[in-house]
Symmetry: C2
Subunit: 411 residues, 2 copies
């Protein structure tokens, strides 16, 4: 088999998130035909298959928690100002061994053997904005977990270290998942917004018949982060299960309206949000506006903030930015992430989207559960790299051009 | 061009040594035909070309010192018990930029554009022996200098991070240069020992008509390390220029004889030496045996120790270990490294080899100056990896099997 052949492959994707909980493994089958085109002049007439025959099929997925001492070592490396150079070097190899074991165990469990592995690694440092260092302006990132170890143990090639190639081309090295959204959800006739609602909410906008270079993505603002903090502060629970408390309250509209006038929401994409924007400080200010409202009203208002900020972002930056083209605008929003479990949030979002002519659907109906999504994304990115094709989405990362992501270690 | 084609390529090798002085760049042209065989059963009848048509041709080489603040940052990372995680992440990118600049400058100077780059990177940590870490036995190493940055800047693929694949297969990840020795100096009819005399002296033994798997390599003991320290202690100069002082003295034979009975010299290869074996402590003991001898006599004796220990290693471990085969034994020693400049050392070595039927030659006459050798080696290793061929020498590194070294970053 040469790399230029594009036969279907089974690819294992291995992901470890910044929470450093453990290792997600997804085995996916990737079919050959649908190569995205980055160059509009060479655009093919063939359209990607519809949702009943997606080019990426999730075969199985699972997760393995890190041993607690490994988790501690990772958190130490992430949070300590200074760390032992020797231990960082050892952690790289140790994680390589753990990732290899995770794939080998999954192989036995799924009774499938992958042809290729894409391993994201464990991020222990990330700096997406250029900062001066010894006379140069540097952006950098660090995913540890040695690809060569995985390749040797499992006996198949490994693609690792995905983010640098995008950074080297002027991008932030993130987000990389929009490429999976594009490949999974692009539709010839339907414009789709893929909306993830985690702590922070982010969207990927895929116009009908889009090229990868047409796709764009950005953070819309709070996802569950503000709701959860408000619920915890007011009633001491970690979250509003099913959105029941919010359902029993009334949204205080003028608070939502005034919050949506904040800089973050007005700022044009690309933009990213985090605890700096919607953490404790934001919640403290938010609660100051309470003025005797009931707890359910406040929780309903926090919930409405997430729903309305998403719809607002769509209205301001998604529909608007593409209405000058001849293409259809956006008809569907596909929602994933923990926020999906909050029925009140989803119903608010659905209502807010209705005037825009956008129908809400859940990504789960497309066969890719939220927990498997990131691991599946790195399987797909590895597949593209193996075939020497770019897979960053420059409009999402800010890169100046498409880049072939990651490094290949042969077995 | 696919990776399975083996047309001639111009490959840039980029090396930074542990002294952290700077960046060595070598451009080499590598011809296609002579693929080494690791599997004896499939050994080809075609023999590598002779020394007038070596498969690897050095086109040009040069070096660039690190800016002093970069050198400081590297030495800090190497020597500090703990280091800033952020700065380690930045150093990786910064060195990638510097390596890219070094190749781009060389391109303009040499008026050649490489097809591929092999970059060793800067070692900041190395642990070739397994040690327990969080419940696993780990060997590890760390070469920094981001390959993806170099690939993006120069616009050609880069192979980096060579040592892990060998380690993952049970080796120490070093030495990797014996593969170059094998490819350059292997001869169908002549058994050759490639002897490098740096601070430590090491040899690569390549029997006539050897396969890569027949090659073996080990440290023979002191190179210039003991001589230089003795000269510095006795007369305050950094080294014995041209071996003139040694030439004016007489070797105290019984001291050499007794030193050669030490454990290190009797130990069977593979073995490695360093300051632990032949540093200050050794020299202090050596000088204690002086008993009124003149300074030139002592320096001559130190010089004889290097020469005799090399010849002894050849007699004990090289000739012996292969005389049971039907092959010719070894007829030539090709010497390189700083020790070559010590005429007394070379003449002593030549004399010590004569009874073994081994003739001494200098590698410089083969067109590869010592300063370019390591950089050229990583160009060759990159070329092999690009063609998905292994290039470790298991008998030199201790690996259980051949391994394809390094990771490929596409431009």
């Amino acid at each position: 088999m040469t790399q230029s052949t594009t036969r279907p492959m089974i690819v294992a994707g291995v992901m470890s998130g910044t929470s450093a909980d453990g290792i997600n493994v997804a085995f996916v089958r990737i079919k050959a035909a649908r190569t995205p085109r980055f160059n509009k002049r060479t655009r093919s007439n063939s359209e990607p298959s519809d949702l009943h025959h997606p080019p990426i099929e999730l075969l199985a997925h699972t997760e393995y928690p890190y041993p607690s001492q490994v988790r501690c070592a990772i958190l130490d490396a992430m949070n300590a100002e200074r760390a032992s150079v020797a231990n960082l070097a050892r952690l790289n190899v140790l994680l390589g061994e753990l990732y290899a074991n995770a794939v080998l165990k999954s192989q036995r469990r799924f009774r499938r053997v992958p042809d290729l592995i894409g391993c994201h690694g464990q991020t222990i440092y990330n700096q997406g904005d250029a900062q001066p260092f010894l006379g140069k302006k540097i952006t950098t990132t660090w995913q540890t977990g040695e690809g060569a170890i995985i390749a040797a143990r499992v006996g198949v090639p490994v693609v690792s270290d995905f983010r640098f190639a995008d950074m080297a081309n002027g991008g932030k090295g993130a987000p990389l998942v929009p490429y999976l959204d594009y490949r999974l959800f692009r539709h010839a006739k339907i414009g789709r917004i893929v909306q993830n609602i985690g702590g922070i909410a982010n969207l990927t906008a895929i116009a009908a018949g889009a090229d990868a270079s047409d796709v764009f993505a950005f953070d819309t603002g709070p996802g569950n982060m503000v709701i959860d903090q408000v619920v915890e502060t007011l009633i001491g629970k970690p979250f509003d299960r099913g959105g029941k408390i919010a359902a029993s309250g009334h949204v205080i509209e003028h608070i939502v309206d005034s919050l949506l006038k904040r800089d973050f929401f007005r700022e044009r994409p690309p933009k990213t949000a985090g605890r700096e924007e919607f953490g404790r400080e934001f919640v403290r200010e938010f609660l100051r506006q309470r003025q005797g409202a009931s707890k359910p009203d406040i929780i309903a208002t926090a919930t409405a903030l997430t729903a309305r900020s998403i719809a607002d972002a769509v209205r301001r930056f998604v529909i608007k930015s593409t209405h000058h083209t001849s293409r259809n605008s956006f008809q569907e929003m596909l929602v994933s992430g923990g926020g999906v479990k909050n029925a009140t949030l989803i119903s608010m979002l659905s209502e807010a989207l209705a005037p825009l002519g956008i129908q809400l659907r859940l990504t789960d109906e497309f066969g890719l559960p939220s927990q498997a999504k990131e691991a599946a994304a790195f399987a797909l990115l590895a597949y593209e790299t193996w075939h020497r094709r770019p897979s960053n989405v420059p409009s999402a990362t800010g890169a100046k051009r498409p880049a072939i992501l990651g490094k290949i270690s042969y077995a």
